[in-house]
Amino acid sequence: MANKLDFLKQFDELTALFPAQGSARAVIHNGMEFPTTRDEYWKYTRVQALLGASYARNLVNIDSIESFRIDHLDAHYLVFINGKYSERLSDTGSIQGVEMTAMSKAEGARKDQMLDHLDRYVDRDRHAFNALNTSYFQDGAFITVADGAQVEKPICILQISAGKLQANNARNLILVGANAKAEFVQLFAGQNNQGAFTNAVTEMSIGEGANASLYLMQDEGSESAQIHSTQVAQEKDSTSKVVTITSSGNLVRNNLNFTVNGTGCESNMYGVYFTSGKQHIDNHTYVDHLAPNCNSNELYKGVMTDRSTGVFNGKIMVHREAQQTNAFQSNQNILLSDKATINTKPELEIYADDVKCSHGCTIGQLDEEAMFYLQTRGLSKEAAGKLLVQAFAGEVTEHIDIEALRIYTEQFLQQKFEDLDA
């Protein structure tokens, strides 16, 4: 078993740049342990290999982000390479009501605002990877949307992992003002990054009456690993949507947490994963309903083949005060091979007595009758299977409001299916 202190030693030389980092380092060095499969919420996901590796921190120069962009995605970009901000590749030009900078560039009142919110939302005293991130992150995106601002173009945080065995504690802070509306894309990409490990934390606060969407696009490459915690805090009458599309990664673990603080909120979570080879993709979600009259909707869909594994764990917590909560959760899976696995567990914990909550999960195969039907119309088995996978994922992809991302997702699913027989 990997030695924690040896693992941490490779990060300890990094300067503590933010006030929270001193206390976080103390926490992680003293007493806190990384999870093992004996921990309930890590039962199916082994992280020991990640903790046993020696990582590098390369300064990599990338000329252009062209090859990392999503086709036709018209967005403002903030670009980080191995955690380091690239001002040259970023496009932070004037956007009405938006300030987007690297954390390292925040100054004066803006810096005070950042420090006020940084480390406020995410739980890093009980979650080792959050503590790891908080202890050592070196930079990240800091985006604020002013009260009432209606942002037209999506704002994209592009995080590129470049070179072998890179370890990167990616960190982002997004503050959406009252009654504002904005869409964010977090795009993780990779380049020759065998053995890379990204440990990301994103904190997002959504003000009263605001509407914010976050699209998490994970495509760091087939030999990379990512652990990602997203913490969304919602105030009264706000609407949120987080869509997670995992298109590559050898080991991916997502923790998506919502804290619903105010009444009249709506929280939406959607996800698609399609695993092959020995991929392991784990989505844990947690919705903390603290206030009455809120809705949450969740739908995750997965396709697993070869010897790959999917994990889904969705927990909805309805506190005593959160009367008239409507919470719906569903996880649906298709297994395309005998050796593929899905571990899925929906959880409800309800302390209020006037709520409407449902959860469910399904595991099945492609419908053979539908396959035969399509084949009798001249479609090959492959074409028929692609159509059916597309249709299966359609209930999730229809919630992707940014067309370029929807097309990207559909193409990734098609490509993945095409590669199966190759």
Partner: protein, 254 residues
């Protein structure tokens, strides 16, 4: 021996149960054949086996379609070669658009014939024309395949698909079952308009009723996995009047 469809000594079994026990059937271009028979005689098995359903164990001296060995072909190849099965119970496929899938189907067939993809304009024209043929509402053509369609709409959608794909051989598996008289007329009218000297139809049906509207050249009675009697359209009328028992008695007496 027909060079269109020639079925010789076709056997099929599923999970050890012999369903077809030596079917012989010749169909020529321009002909309409009706296959009738009591429940459990093997009618639907025959259509499934011809379309290529994989659950069956199939043996035959040969089954030739347009000179090629049909049994060697995957279901999609049979379709591209010009065979079409209208399902007795068309499958609902949520999330797959009727129109998109038909376009993919037409293009798969065209690729097989060495042709380029159909143009968007040509395709839409074809859709419009064939929709009218079976009086299928445009909203249905644009919906997910058969999802939420009534029984009659599903059957009309089958004929619509057949019209779009223009097969050489159309097999209609109890397309008349569950149809009211108006829907039956529409379906029959669709088939009659598609009929030509180059194509042929096999109508699998339990009742004579459909044959009032699509007049067959031949009527075959399938019983216990074999064609036990063949005749012209008058045989269907005779069956309507007397039921199947007299034929069954005849067969069992031998």
């Amino acid at each position: 021996m027909s060079d269109f469809l020639d079925v010789k000594n076709l056997h099929a079994s599923i999970e050890g149960n012999q369903i077809l026990k030596g079917i012989n059937l010749e169909v020529n271009a321009g002909e309409v054949h009706a296959i009738m028979g009591p429940n459990g005689s093997g009618k639907s098995t025959l259509s499934s086996v011809l379309a290529g359903r994989e659950e069956y164990e199939v043996e035959a001296d040969h089954v030739k379609f347009l000179g090629k060995d049909l049994l060697e072909m995957a279901p999609e190849e049979r379709s591209r070669e010009g065979l079409f099965l209208a399902f007795q119970y068309p499958v609902e496929i949520p999330g797959v658009s009727n129109i998109n899938f038909l376009k993919a189907a037409i293009n798969a067939k065209r690729a097989h014939q060495g042709l380029e993809d159909i143009s968007a304009k040509e395709f839409m024209q074809l859709v419009k024309e064939k929709q009218a043929l079976v009086e299928l509402k445009q909203s249905l053509a644009n919906r997910s395949v058969n999802e939420g369609f009534s029984g009659g709409e599903k059957k009309r959608n089958e004929i619509f698909q057949m019209a779009m794909l223009q097969p050489r051989l159309g097999i209609l598996d109890e397309t008349d079952s569950g149809l009211d008289i108006d829907a039956l007329k529409i379906v029959a009218n669709g088939v009659n308009k598609l009929k030509s000297k180059d194509n042929a139809f096999i109508l699998i049906t339990h009742y004579q009723r459909l044959l009032n509207y699509i007049v067959p050249d031949f009527v075959h009675v399938l019983y216990n996995g074999r064609i036990v009697k063949s005749g012209d359209k008058t045989l269907a009328l005779e069956l309507e009047e007397k039921g199947y028992d007299w034929i069954i008695n005849e067969v069992e007496a031998v």
